[in-house]
């Protein structure tokens, strides 16, 4: 079942009380949703590609010593990309967008911590991790493309 097909019904089922609060906030003049940002969309798609490639880079069927220099370089590159995306999002003054990026950042940090503990990703584990990551990034990207101004 495709999640997108169920989204409105799902939202009503799962977000009743939360929705009431959000609507109350929106209608009382609090910060409205910011419109679609092509830059944020691009950052999310680039982060998705980077993160999935990061998992691939450290996937091995047999346990082996990790290339610590490579891990440090990839870690630094990833940290920079996430910080850039978060800082840009903060500037757009819409916490709903920033929240998704922060959770994705946490997922990257968790994957990084796994490697820093001396593990690599087995092919099976990498496949499952990437399945979850793809869904998470697709949802974050959807959080951008449902905004006003996005091409439908």
């Amino acid at each position: 079942m495709k999640r997108e097909e169920n989204t409105p019904r799902t939202a009503r089922i799962m977000l009743g009380p939360m929705l009431a609060l959000l609507l109350a906030a929106g209608l009382s003049g609090c910060a409205a949703l910011s419109p679609y940002s092509a830059t944020s969309y691009q950052q999310l798609t680039q982060l998705k590609a980077f993160h999935l490639m990061f998992i691939d880079e450290f996937t091995s069927e047999t346990p082996q010593l990790l290339d610590q220099a490579k891990l440090a370089a990839e870690s630094g590159a990833g940290e920079l990309k996430f910080r850039e995306a978060e800082e840009y999002s903060v500037g757009l003054k819409d916490t709903s967008r920033t929240y998704n990026i922060q959770v994705l950042h946490r997922m990257f940090e968790n994957n990084l911590a796994w490697l820093q503990e001396g593990n690599s990703f087995s092919k099976t584990n990498a496949g499952e991790q990437k399945t979850v990551l793809q869904s998470a990034y697709d949802q974050a990207i959807r959080g951008e493309t449902v905004r006003t101004g996005a091409s439908k």
Partner: protein, 110 residues
């Protein structure tokens, strides 16, 4: 592949009996929910635990996958909220603005 219920039935520790029963109930409840997110979470959870039981994933790997799924849920719920706000906020704001600025006065003047 072994069924998740069979795997859970194989947990011998009597002190975990109630927790296992509660877990199975929640797993079935999520799997039967109309929400695709709930169904997907139930399916993935059962699959990963089955893979742990068959030795395809370690305990530590399954734990990291379950934590990742929790994070994906946070993003999905946030995106659903964004979508609902995007849909309802302009509609309801416009409705109330017209009522405040025009309709209330027009009724009084009628």
């Amino acid at each position: 592949m072994i069924d998740i219920a069979q795997i859970l039935a194989g947990i011998a520790d009597p002190s975990l009996k109630e927790i296992v029963a509660e877990f199975l109930k929640l797993l079935q409840q999520a799997g039967q929910d109309s929400s695709a997110l709930a169904q997907e979470t139930a399916q993935r959870t059962a699959r990963w635990l089955t893979m742990e039981a068959s030795g395809q994933l370690t305990q530590e790997e399954v734990t990291t996958l379950l934590e990742a799924q929790k994070n994906e849920i946070l993003i999905t719920l946030n995106t659903l909220a964004i979508e609902e706000r995007e849909r309802l906020q302009p509609l309801l704001s416009q409705l109330l603005d017209i009522a405040i600025n025009f309709i209330v006065k027009a009724i009084r003047a009628a």
